[in-house]
């Protein structure tokens, strides 16, 4: 097995499409950092002047209508309490405009790191899925698999080595990419002399490392899934079509209609895994004498739950592909 794995890793590295995928991911990293660079730039004098003007206008408006605004707010609060029979808090005491509302502050370093790693996880996941799929599907579509099996007829070994090679083969890409993203985000903050947000930098290091490791793991899982799909569907285009179909039919339509399906959604659980947890929302409506009232209900999904769902999904996919490949006529 280890001999086959070494050979498969060598084959993976030699594939041109894999090289193209690597370059593509690095380009995305560059674009991501360029976007961050522009978003954390200090405000120009003109922008500050404009913000001050907007604040002055708002303050003047508040002077004229502030009392009325608060009164309206209290009235709406009272109506809500009457209808629902529960306390309502519209934060009416907090309506007076403040200067910082008009002077946008850059995201903290921790926020930027979390956001950048979340974005790159999606890119890496898709790239790894494609790399895994093309790695195995190309062998079937060119019928090179027949030649391969005349050298190693133990199909489960062959299959295992290919899936494992796809998963392991993308790890260097994921590690380098996440390191570039983390290093790049920090470099942007240092270069622009943006404060890391007073004291909020505590614990950023360990949280970032943990999130980066999760991105790497997700990339490997996506590659293994792609390799299994490639074996099942035999053509990279078929895999991409199936993934697109899944996204449209399940993620976009079914999950929207039936939000509880979010618990098994690969997209939601990938986010939950990378971000250390996520949530989905449902609506609960009650009809009473005053009409129908709908409330949004938040359902938390922990990172552990996401990991479990993704692991089970991958295991089922890999097992089904193994069974099919073991019994299928080749060539």
């Amino acid at each position: 097995m280890s001999r086959l794995l070494r050979v498969e890793l060598r084959r993976l590295r030699a594939r041109r499409l894999v090289l193209v995928a690597h370059v593509g991911v690095l380009v995305v990293v560059g674009l991501l950092l360029a976007s961050l660079w522009s978003s954390v730039q200090p405000l120009s004098a003109a922008e500050v002047r404009q913000a001050e003007e907007f604040y002055a206008q708002a303050a003047e408006e508040w002077e004229r209508t502030g009392e009325q605004q608060v009164a309206d707010c209290r009235e709406q609060e009272r109506r809500e309490e009457e209808i629902t029979g529960r306390d309502a808090d519209y934060h009416c005491e907090d309506l007076e405009p403040r200067p910082e509302w008009f002077l946008p502050t850059p995201p903290t370093l921790a926020e930027s790191l979390r956001s950048a790693l979340g974005s790159i996880a999606l890119v890496l996941g898709l790239a790894a899925l494609g790399i895994g799929a093309t790695f195995t599907a190309a062998e079937l579509s060119t019928r090179s698999m027949s030649t391969w099996l005349t050298f190693e007829p133990r199909r489960l070994r062959v299959y295992g080595s290919k899936v494992a090679a796809a998963a392991l083969g993308v790890v260097p890409l994921a590690v380098v990419t996440t390191a570039l993203v983390v290093g790049g985000v920090v470099a942007v903050y240092v270069a622009l002399d943006v404060p890391a947000a007073g004291g909020a930098a505590d614990g950023v290091g360990s949280a970032t490392v943990l999130q980066a490791l999760r991105v790497v793991a997700l990339t490997a899982v996506a590659a293994a899934g792609g390799a299994a799909l490639g074996i099942l569907l035999r053509h990279t285009a078929a895999v991409m079509g199936a993934v697109l179909g899944w996204v449209v039919a399940f993620e976009a339509i079914l999950v929207t209609q039936l939000p509880h399906l979010s618990v098994v959604s690969p997209r939601v659980n990938a986010t939950g895994w990378v971000d250390g947890g996520t949530a989905y929302y449902t609506e609960t409506c009650t009809t009473g004498a005053d009409g129908t009232i709908c409330e949004g209900v938040e359902h938390a999904i922990g990172a552990g739950q996401s990991a479990l769902v993704l692991s089970v999904g991958l295991a089922v996919l890999v097992a089904v592909a193994a069974l099919v490949f073991r019994r299928r006529d080749e060539g």
Binding site: R3, L4, R6, V7, R10, R11, A14, R15, R16, A138, E139, T142, R143, S144, S146, T147, W148, L149, T150, F151, E152, P153, R154, R327, D329, E330, G331
Partner: protein, 316 residues
């Protein structure tokens, strides 16, 4: 006694069907094949007769519906991992990774079986591809692709080589080259199974043959025996052809007019012809034994394919 002893390949009652839109298609039907160890064995049949399916089943690429197969006495596909190291095969057109060089393709295969990298250059040299080893496979000519495939089979230093339609698409020089390679491999003591629908090319190199049609074995044995039994004829020239024809027909021979003489079909012993005519006082002006080609034998065999049984004419 082990009935597979002395045979590189044996199959018994082998059957494979495919389900398609038009129903069930029987690709191989009750095939009993025996390929002796050593020499070149021609596996012949028209396109779609089941040759490639049989080879794929032997190599574990396709699952048989029923029947038994053995390679060097080992039951396959169960024992294929134990015996595959002794078998090199090219199934239909060679299939390698088009974007990789010839050398990289072979290095990957060598890595899979644990062969040293030096072996790659040895086999490339053996098939005359060392100079083009760094070129991408997609840029190879058909002949070069075939040679690379042969080089791949040689990586294992196999005892049995299986070539499925190895000369498809090759020019005459390429065909000649492949034929020479097969002969040379057999002369080294290896067994070469070559499947083809081009009978003339196999006839020049095969020691033994098996002929199949519609998935069933029609004949098998040494080439000379299969050809001789099915296609022997003799051209006879006598002063009175009509009288001679009557005598030979009366003696149970199949005779047809051939210009100014006669052709006696299916008679392997010319002595019987001379004896019968001499008994009737007819003396020969000429008697020319004609050894029919494999093609004639093949056509004679396949003429009644519909009613042929799997074991017909098999001197097994």
């Amino acid at each position: 006694m082990d009935v597979t002893e002395g045979f590189a390949i044996t199959t018994r009652g082998l059957r494979k069907t495919y389900r398609g839109r038009r129903g069930v298609h029987v690709a191989v039907d009750d095939l009993n094949l025996r390929v002796p160890v050593g020499g070149v064995h021609g596996f012949l049949g028209p396109n779609g007769s089941g040759k490639t399916t049989t080879i794929r089943m032997l190599l574990g690429l396709v699952r048989a519906d029923s029947g038994h197969m053995r390679l060097f006495g080992q039951t396959v596909p169960d024992a294929l991992p134990q015996v595959v190291g002794r078998v090199g095969a090219i199934v239909e057109s060679p299939t390698f990774f088009p974007a990789f060089s010839g050398r990289l393709n072979l290095e990957l295969l060598a890595g899979a079986i644990g062969a040293p990298r030096t072996r790659v250059d040895e086999v490339l040299d053996e098939v005359g591809l060392l100079d083009r080893a760094r070129d991408r496979y997609s840029g190879y000519s058909l002949g070069m692709k075939q040679r690379l495939a042969i080089a791949a089979t040689l990586l294992k230093q196999p005892d049995l080589l299986i070539f499925d339609e190895p000369t498809n698409g090759l020019d005459p020089a390429g065909i000649h080259e492949i034929r020479g390679t097969m002969r040379a491999l057999a002369d080294q003591g290896r067994t070469v199974l070559v499947s083809s629908h081009i009978l003339a090319e196999v006839e020049q190199v095969a020691d033994t043959v098996s002929i199949i049609a519609r998935g069933r074995l029609l004949a098998t044995g040494p080439l000379a025996e299969v050809v001789g039994r099915r296609g022997a004829a003799a051209r006879v020239v006598v002063p009175d052809a009509a009288a001679a024809r009557a005598v030979l027909v009366a003696a149970g021979m199949q005779v047809e007019h051939d210009g100014d003489g006669l052709r006696v079909l299916g008679e392997e012993d010319p002595g019987r012809i001379t004896w019968a005519l001499a008994q009737a006082g007819i003396f020969l002006q000429a008697l020319v034994p004609e050894r029919a080609g494999l093609e004639e034998a093949f056509l004679a065999l396949t003429a009644g394919t519909a009613s042929a049984s799997g074991d017909e004419g098999v001197p097994a």
